[in-house]
Amino acid sequence: MFENCRIAPLGDSAVTVTFSEKIDEQVHSRVLAFAGMLESHPLPGMTEVVSGYTSVTVFYNPIVVWKTACPMTGHRPSPAPYAFISGMLKKMIDQPVQDSASYSQETRTVSIPVCYGGAYGPDLQAVADCAGLSPEEVITIHSSASYRTFMIGFLPGFPYLGGLPKRIAMPRRAEPRLSVPAGSVGIAGEQTGVYPFNSPGGWQIIGQTPVNLFDPAKTPPSLLRAGDYIRFKAINENEFNHWKGGERP
C-alpha cells in the first residue's frame, strides 16, 4: 500500500518521509502512527518529529549522529549521518503496518465555540451570497461538519483543517486585512481555520472563538494537535463575553 514511500533530505539536518502524493485520512493515520513510533523510539541525534498531511519530517543534529552512531574511519564518519538516519527510517517503513498502528495516539474531538456573524464575522454575508444561501444556513453547514486536523504549523497553534463542505467554500479576499483579531474563524478556498493571533489575513472571516489556541505557558503550548477532530459550536455574544471574561486572572 505504501510502496511509493519516498525518503529525501530536507537540507543537511532533516529528512522527510513522504507516504503519498494525495491527501486522505488513511494516509494521514499512517503518518501519525509513524510519527508516534519515532516519538516512542527516537533515533540517535533526533531533535524532533513533525508530521504533515502526507509526510513525516525528522529533524536531527548531524554532529550528535556523527558522535554517537557513526564510527570514524580515518577522519570520515562512516556512514555519513544522512545515510545513517535514512537507513534507519527505511527499516522502520518496512515494518508491518499493524505494528506501527499501536503507536497511534487516541483521537480527540474538540469542540470550538464560535460567535458567528456581526462584528465577529464581517464576511459571513459575503460567504452566504457567494453560496446562494442565507447566513443561518452557512452557520448550520459550517458547524455540522467534523474537521480533521492534518497539521499544526505556519503560526504557533494554527490548525490546517480538512473537510470544509464545498458548498461554503469561497476564495480568499482580494485584499487581505491588515489585522484580523485572534480567534477569528475563516474560510479560504476549500480550507477553514482559526487565527491563533492578531495578524494580517486574507481569509473570509465568518466568526470568532473566545478560546485561546496557543499558550506558551502550557505544555503542550498548542490547544490542538494533528489528528484531532474539530467541531464548531455556535454561541451567542453573551456566551462569548462570558467565556472571554472567564479567561481573565
Binding site: A8, V50, I63, P81, F214, P216, A226
Partner: protein, 335 residues
C-alpha cells in the same frame, strides 16, 4: 547584578540556542541567528553554551553597568566602546561598575553576541529564554529591548587571579581585556558571501536557466529581510510549469520560491510549514555567514552534496571544540 538599557539600539533581543521540539506546535526552534558566535561568546564569558545573551543588530545599544561584569563579544564588529576606547572582540573583558558600553558604526558583519558571565536571567518558556518575536513571547516580554529595561544577570564567581587583577590599584582603566583572543583564522566567515546549498525537493521542477541563474548570479539581500527570513533580489527563478504543493514542514536554511520567482531563505524565526517550491537549502555550516549578511549585501550560491555539507559542519564543530578547550585552559589559569 544588573544592566540598565539607556538606548536599545536598532534591534536587540535576548537569545540563546533556541527551543527545538515545538515545531509540531507551530513554533520554530528560533534562538540566535549565528549560533556559532553565541556559543563562542558564552565560552569566553565562562558560561554554559546555552546561556542567554544579547543578539545585537547593526546599530548597538547603550548599556549602563550597575555592577562589575565580565563580558565577551563575538560575531560582528559593531564597534563596541567604553568612553572613547574600543572594546576588543573574541576575548573576556571586565567592565567596571558605573561604565557605559556603547556601539558605534557597524564595521563588519550584521549581528554581534554579547555574553555576560552568569547569563541573562529571563523566564524559561518552552525550554528557552529566546525571544520569539512573531508570537511575542520569551526573552524580555517577547519583544526587543527598550530604554529603561533592566537586565538581570546571573551570579558567576570569577577566578581568583582575574578578580585580583581587576581590583588592583594599577587598574585605572574602566575596563580590562584579557591579553589573549581567539584566532580570527578559525572563525566560520571565510568567504562571507559564498553560501553553499544542497538541492531542494523541487529543484528539478525549475527551468535550467533558473538553476543556472541561482548558481551564477549574485542575489542581493533586500530590506524586506529579518529573523524570519531573507527576501532576495536577483533574476526571477521560473518553474517549468506552475505547481500547487501541499503545505509541509520546512527547515532553517530552506530556500523557497513563490510565484513571483524571488527566492526567500527561511531563518531562525521562520514559519514551520510552507507550500512554496523548495529549490534548495543553505547548508547549516553557512548559517553563521547568512546571519552576518545584511540588507544590500550580495551573496552567491554554490551547489554541494549533503555529505559535503555535513563534512563542513563537522570541521566547523571540531574547530569550535578545539577553541573551547583552549579557552577553558586559559580561564583555569593554565599556560
Amino acid at each position: 547584578m544588573t544592566i540598565t538599557v539607556l538606548n536599545p539600539g536598532l534591534l536587540t533581543t535576548v537569545q540563546d540556542l533556541g527551543r527545538p521540539g515545538y515545531q509540531k506546535n507551530g513554533v520554530s526552534p528560533s534562538g540566535a541567528m549565528d549560533r556559532w558566535a553565541l556559543r563562542l561568546a558564552n565560552a569566553l564569558a565562562g558560561n554554559d553554551e546555552s546561556a542567554a545573551c544579547l543578539e545585537i543588530t547593526l546599530l548597538g545599544p547603550s548599556l549602563f553597568f550597575n555592577t562589575d561584569e565580565r563580558i565577551a563579544i563575538a560575531g560582528a564588529d559593531l564597534t563596541p566602546m567604553v568612553g572613547r576606547s574600543g572594546i576588543p572582540l573574541y576575548r573576556p573583558v571586565w567592565i567596571k561598575k558605573g561604565q557605559t558600553l556603547t556601539f558605534g558604526q557597524p564595521k563588519q558583519g550584521c549581528r554581534a553576541y554579547l555574553a555576560f558571565a552568569g547569563g541573562i536571567e529571563a523566564p524559561v518558556i518552552l525550554d528557552s529564554r529566546s525571544t520569539f518575536l512573531p508570537a511575542g513571547f520569551g526573552g524580555i516580554d517577547g519583544r526587543r529591548l527598550r530604554s529603561q529595561d533592566v537586565l538581570s544577570i546571573g551570579e558567576q564567581p570569577d577566578s581568583p587571579q582575574m578578580a585580583e587583577l581587576f581590583e588592583s590599584p594599577k587598574t585605572t582603566q574602566r575596563f580590562l581585556a584579557a591579553p589573549w583572543a581567539v584566532d580570527p583564522g578559525i572563525l566560520p566567515y571565510h568567504d562571507p558571501h559564498l553560501i553553499h546549498i544542497t538541492k531542494g525537493n523541487e529543484w528539478d521542477l525549475f527551468t535550467e536557466s533558473a538553476q543556472e541563474g541561482l548558481l551564477s548570479e549574485p542575489f542581493a539581500i533586500s530590506t524586506q529581510s529579518n529573523r524570519m527570513g531573507y527576501r532576495l533580489e536577483g533574476p526571477p527563478l521560473k518553474m517549468k510549469k506552475a505547481v500547487q504543493l501541499i503545505s509541509a514542514p520546512v527547515a532553517t536554511g530552506t530556500i523557497q520560491v513563490p510565484a513571483n520567482g524571488r527566492p526567500i531563505i527561511l531563518l531562525a524565526d521562520r514559519q514551520t510549514t510552507g507550500g512554496y517550491p523548495k529549490i534548495a537549502h543553505a547548508i547549516s555550516a553557512d548559517l553563521p555567514k547568512l546571519a552576518q549578511a545584511k540588507p544590500g549585501d550580495r551573496i552567491t550560491f554554490q551547489l554541494t552534496t549533503i555529505a559535503d555539507a555535513q563534512k563542513r559542519l563537522f570541521a566547523q564543530e571540531t574547530r569550535l571544540d578545539f577553541i573551547m578547550a583552549r579557552i577553558k585552559e586559559k580561564r583555569e589559569g593554565h599556560r
